[in-house]
């Protein structure tokens, strides 16, 4: 099932405190705390990645972006309040799905003026069933992997064709199994309803697949690839 999101209120606090603050502890998947940690890390990363894709693919003028620091490297983040709000709210709603390991993919779809997708940045996420964190070095390792993904996004220009002007984007979440039923019952954010995505945004004709980066770590496996429409104009 696929969900589709638009507007929303609310504000998430990204917590980067996990990096370097974890004491020696072995936590398992059942430990809710741990699920939250992974979800937080992932949502922070997705926020940065989405902003970076918007910058690199020139969906929005570069003037709204400014350099911020994440994972000890400069990244471009947007200053536009509503854009930021939209992204944060979407990720806030995605977070519970990730916590329960129900989110299969988070997709950022870039559409042209006629709302046909031209590019789809797919973040495939999976978490190993039995997770354990043993030490701080794990998290700094994860940080390194995420840094590498950020770097790969920065150079994705080289493997992608230019987009037509006037593109927009949207965020989709693919969930596993019956997660959607729970979503319907519980409104995570008030007045931010989940809506099933349109077929045309989910599937793209004549798509070619361009893998960007894969990361594997003890707590998280993520794959980033781009589905690109062959004819963009």
């Amino acid at each position: 099932m696929i969900f589709y999101k638009r507007d929303a209120p609310l504000f998430i606090k990204g917590c980067c405190i996990y990096f370097g603050c974890f004491s020696m502890a072995t936590l398992t998947r059942q430990d809710l705390n741990f699920g939250q940690v992974v979800a937080d890390i992932l949502c922070e990363f997705l926020e940065v990645a989405i902003h970076l894709i918007l910058y690199v693919r020139e969906i929005y003028p570069s003037g709204i972006f400014q350099k911020r620091k994440k994972y000890n490297v400069p990244v471009q983040m947007s200053c536009h309040p509503e854009l930021n709000q939209y992204i944060q709210d979407t990720l806030h709603c995605v977070k519970p799905l990730i916590q329960k390991n129900e989110a299969e993919k988070v997709v950022m779809v870039i559409m042209d003026k006629e709302h046909h997708p031209v590019e789809r940045f797919v973040f495939e996420i999976s978490q190993p069933p039995l997770l354990s964190i043993s030490s701080e070095t794990l998290l700094s390792h994860v940080e390194q992997l995420l840094r590498a993904m950020i770097l790969k996004i920065s150079v994705c220009d080289a493997v992608l064709d230019n987009n037509p002007p006037g593109c927009t984007f949207t965020l989709l979440v693919h969930t596993r199994e019956a997660a959607t039923r729970n979503m319907e019952k519980v409104q995570v954010i008030k007045d931010f309803p989940w809506i099933v995505a349109d077929e045309q945004e989910v599937h793209m004709e004549e798509a070619k697949l361009i893998p960007l980066k894969t990361m594997t770590s003890d707590i998280l496996k993520m794959q980033l690839y781009v589905e690109e429409r062959t004819q963009k104009n």
Binding site: P61, Q66, L83, L151, V155, P193
Partner: protein, 437 residues
């Protein structure tokens, strides 16, 4: 001569789509940095001569002497290939030019360059200058006690920071300026500006500064850090000297700059400033990289239509005018010949990237009532360009007005009923077919 390295570089650049900087190459292949530079140059020549395959982009490091504002300085900058000749021409004496990096993608900003080197340097941190020619006998690792002392000192505001000369070469970053200078710089900049508007804006800056100092506790650190990058703009241009970056980075770490939001907003809304606008690139929030220089480019900024917008926008970081982006002209380090240089970490010079001017966009948040709950989402209007004064008109005085707006804005955020309907124009509503109820 062993030419295997050409194949290596080819693999890195073309197959793996990596950015190959000379530093990364030297650490990866275990060669001296000068050799790495030669290798990159050789590779570039060969590929260009072949004229086949995918286009390659390169960045260069240029260093030379030039005169800025009457003072001689030594400038080091990383420039894109297309800007190379322009930068060289501007220097009186070009001391060195070498290839900084080679990559397939055309980089829009310098962050990936830093990112590339980060891990390589981190792994070799103890001997990262093994292959380099930069040596300093005084540069030895600090003992843990010294590290702790340094950390405590860094928390103290950097006003009047001691600048000590070190024997580092020209690649060190510029000196930090005390933060107190910044508001003065902006005032000075505005005072020196022609047209009455500048006086008006300087008054606004003052009032905003007062506001901001009182509102600073409410501002989130995020906004403060957001402000800092922009704040460089006017501070630098006013002083026409390098070296605010370290200052800013420290400020960001302390996460409190009452003037910064004002400066940022002013910078956003500044009218026809003929002044040189500093490069945005230099406002990296990362504490490591530090450069600030004058841009040599004059931007043509759109005139501020009415001062109301300025005041409002200065108060509300949420509402911003999307201005023409500052040209990322010179991401270079200007180190005055004589003044001492502080012991800052080794920076990495930034790249010059020019940005295209963008159309002016104004964003406002309007109150739209929600439709019913459930699957019908809230409807939002297509008209995003409502001028701000309409929705925000309150008290007359600018001070109260900004206060009032700030409160109202907070209330707006809290009210879940109202939806922030306005989206950036780039995202037209496809929910339009949902009925407005």
């Amino acid at each position: 001569m062993d030419y295997l390295y050409l194949d290596n570089i080819d693999e890195f650049v073309n197959d793996q789509n990596k950015i190959v900087t000379y530093k990364w190459l030297s650490l990866t292949l275990g060669v001296h940095v000068n050799t790495a530079k030669q290798m990159l140059y050789h590779y570039l020549q060969q590929k260009r001569n072949e004229g086949s395959g995918t286009p390659l982009h390169a960045t260069y490091l240029v260093s030379g002497k030039c005169v800025e504002n009457g003072s001689k300085c030594h400038k080091v900058s990383v420039v894109r290939e297309d800007k190379l000749n322009a930068v060289k021409a501007k220097m009186d004496v070009t001391i060195s030019v070498h290839v900084y990096s080679v990559q397939r993608a055309e980089l829009k900003d310098s962050s990936p360059l830093y990112n590339t080197d980060y891990d390589a340097v981190k792994e070799n941190i103890k001997n990262c200058n093994k292959y380099s020619t930069i040596r300093c006998a005084a540069a030895v690792p600090m003992s843990s006690a010294e590290v702790q002392r340094a950390q405590e000192m860094a928390l103290v505001p950097p006003a009047g920071k001691e600048i000590s000369k070190t024997g580092l070469n020209e690649n060190t970053s510029a000196t930090p300026k005390p933060s107190a200078k910044q508001p003065a710089g902006i005032m000075g900049m505005f005072a020196s500006k022609n047209a009455s508007k500048s006086q008006e804006s300087s008054k606004e800056v003052k009032t905003e500064q007062k506001d901001d100092s009182s509102l600073v506790e409410t501002s989130k650190s995020k906004t403060a850090s957001k402000a800092n990058p922009m704040s460089n703009l006017f501070g630098k241009s006013a002083q026409k000297k390098a070296d605010e970056k370290p200052n800013k980075s420290v400020k960001e770490e302390t996460a409190a700059s009452s003037t910064a939001p004002a400066i940022m907003e002013q910078s956003q809304t500044s009218p026809k400033s003929k002044i040189d606008i500093k490069d945005e690139q230099s406002k990296v929030s990362s504490a490591l990289k530090v450069e600030s220089k004058d841009t040599r480019n004059k931007t043509k900024r759109p005139e501020v239509v009415d001062s109301d917008d300025e005041k409002m926008e200065s108060q509300q970081k949420k509402r911003r005018r999307i201005k023409k982006p500052q040209p990322d002209s010179s991401d270079d380090e200007v180190v005055p010949d004589s003044p001492p240089v502080p012991n800052v970490q080794t920076p990495s010079p930034k790249k010059q990237v020019k940005r295209e001017p963008v159309s002016h966009q104004e964003v406002s948040i309007t109150n739209n009532t929600l439709t019913e709950k459930g699957y019908v989402s809230e409807s939002y209007s297509e008209s995003e360009e409502e001028p701000e004064p309409n929705s925000q008109a309150k008290d007359s005085s600018s001070l109260k007005q900004s206060f009032g707006k700030r409160e109202e804005e907070k209330k707006e955020k809290r009210e879940k009923k109202t939806s922030t309907a306005n989206k950036p124009t780039k995202q037209p509503s496809i929910m339009g077919f949902f009925q407005k109820k």
